[in-house]
């Protein structure tokens, strides 16, 4: 088949190129989880240490070096006048209220140098929370680290828990003002819808359920403003069925909230850790076991980590 080894080499290169072509363009492989487009830039600004002479005339004078500051400043966009919460290593460290333009800034000072997992989320005017935007960061001693371009995902909710096939279900939430919203419906075939957030960031998408199959469906959204794309919102579920049932505006149960304080935090983690590898009581099977498999293992912890609020 090959006249010499050079031809064989060329053939192999062509095959590899074909492999790449298939991977990237023709049949891109499915990813296994939601895409998180974290847009964070880190700038390091070494604190300037100035020396001021305080001696009298003719004298050499002493020197004063101000103590160096270790600081991390987080800036980004949420929703207008919304509460923005910052978590450091899974625990709430600070909250702030974003401005009318949805911009916010949070500053952490006197932080120990080391690796951290920071998370940011916001709460809209209806009490719904965005998904957690999480990123790792190494903080160095004596430097100011600026984390910019944080783009909080939209909140999402639906007006009906079950909708009669053919009727409209309203998908709504809050996002960055004037941003473009993409609503993604996870059905057998993924559907996409487009809408736009208004000047206060509110968005609404009327979904005609005529094109959906009967059964359970999931919806999520993301916002885009100029070149920036947010991470995906939380997922909200609804049923297309034979009748219409209106949904309460704020979901009462948060998965992973084991002590019912409307948060998923280290307290819930500790309760789950208590039951880790222990035989479960009937009550624990009902209230603690997050995937209902009769045991507490890493899967339950993974589910809790996904719904974490701090």
């Amino acid at each position: 088949m090959f006249k010499n080894s050079n031809h064989f080499g060329v053939f192999i290169i062509i095959l590899i190129l074909f492999g790449f072509l298939f991977q990237f363009f023709l049949f891109p492989k499915k990813t296994y989880s939601e895409t998180l487009s974290i847009s964070v830039q880190v700038q390091i600004v070494t604190t300037t240490t100035t020396t001021t002479s305080v001696g009298g005339s003719g004298g050499g004078g002493g020197g004063y070096t101000p103590p160096s500051t270790t600081q991390v400043i987080f800036t980004g966009k949420a929703y207008p006048q919304s509460t923005v919460t910052l978590l450091k290593d899974a625990q709430i460290m600070a909250t702030t209220i974003s401005g009318a333009d949805a911009n916010f800034q949070i500053s952490l000072t006197n932080i120990t140098a080391g690796s951290y997992i920071f998370s940011v989320y916001s709460e809209d005017n209806k009490g719904n929370r965005s998904s957690l935007l999480t990123f790792p960061l190494s903080v160095s001693s004596g430097v100011i680290t600026n984390v910019t371009g944080i783009f909080i995902s939209p909140t999402i909710d639906v007006d009906k828990s079950e909708v009669k096939k053919g009727e409209i279900i309203k998908i709504f939430g809050q996002a960055i003002p004037d941003s473009d919203i993409t609503v993604i419906i996870n059905s057998d075939e993924e559907l996409y819808g487009k809408t736009k957030a208004d000047t206060i960031g509110a968005y609404l998408y009327n979904l005609d359920t005529l094109e959906l199959e009967m059964g359970n469906h999931l919806a999520k959204s993301r916002s885009t403003l100029e070149e920036e794309i947010s991470s995906l919102s939380k997922t909200v579920s609804f049923i297309v069925g034979a009748k219409t049932i209106l949904k309460e505006l704020i979901t009462k149960i948060i998965k992973g909230d084991l002590n019912n304080d409307k948060r998923v935090s280290l307290i819930d983690f500790s309760i789950l850790a208590y039951w880790y590898k222990r035989p479960l009581t009937t009550e624990a099977k009902t209230n603690i076991d997050l995937n209902n498999d009769g045991k507490i293992n890493l899967v339950d912890f993974s589910i809790m980590a996904y719904y974490w609020t701090g």
Partner: protein
Amino acid sequence: MNKYCSILLLGICFYFLLPINTMAAELYLEIPKDEYSIQETFIINIRINVGHNENINAVDGYLRFPKDILKIKDFSTGNSILTFVEEPKINQEEGLISFVGIIPGGYGGLISGDPGQSNLLGKMIFYTTSTGSAQVIFQDGSQVLLSDGKGTPAKLATKGVVFNIKELELPTEGQSLKNEWQDELEKDKIPPEDFKPEIVEINGEYYLVFSTKDKGSGVDHYEILEEGPGVAMGKLFLGQNWTEKESPYLLKDQSLSSNIKVKVVDKAGNEKIIELPVTYSLSWYKNYFIWVIILVLLSFLSFQLWYYLKTKEY
């Protein structure tokens, strides 16, 4: 035509064989050298990489090491991105190490501009006992779960380390044997991070839950002190009785009327104490200490009265 078909077919095969885009997560080990000498203490870092557009949130790691030529001295959680579900386990007899932890909110890999390597899961501290070739590897059962709300296992690749242990090179005068871990301990002067212990009800009983991190050598242990009413007097005679405990800790005083202190100590010995105020104050008449004071005062007054009456008689 047949030739083109076979190229197309082989291209499809290469699509499935090429590793690009298929890896969701990689657990790997990192050492600075590939050769150590006997009686040397060194550190192997456990790190994680995740594939593009992937997000993971739980890690279960099992590692094997040659127990006849390596001795595991410690496992450090210092600077780890994990929140550990339980204390990492080390077993010298079996040559096994295991750890399990989560990353609340998930981990999507390093971000551009991050000045450090924020992907450390833990550090294993080893001591070389014999010469030979050593291999530290991840075992079957190690798993990484996706942050998808369902705990789906991620496609996992693992990478261990192989290194050589040579005969002891006696240090020259004024030098000591290399001990990377001792150097880290000596550098660590910073106590663990602040934390907030909480009291929670689990299975009908009150437990104290607590967790913190240490950015240097890592948390070594926690100690608890429950101070019931009248403890001030006890302190004078008995001193404070700290006991080493893990979270969640079953409170001795289920009436929640004690002062609780939690001490966290890192591997270098730096410590931090957090005090919890009393949840439910006892009524004054339930406090034994107050009754002791009243009794002492009454005794003193009775004596004074008796003495006064006695002197008056004369």
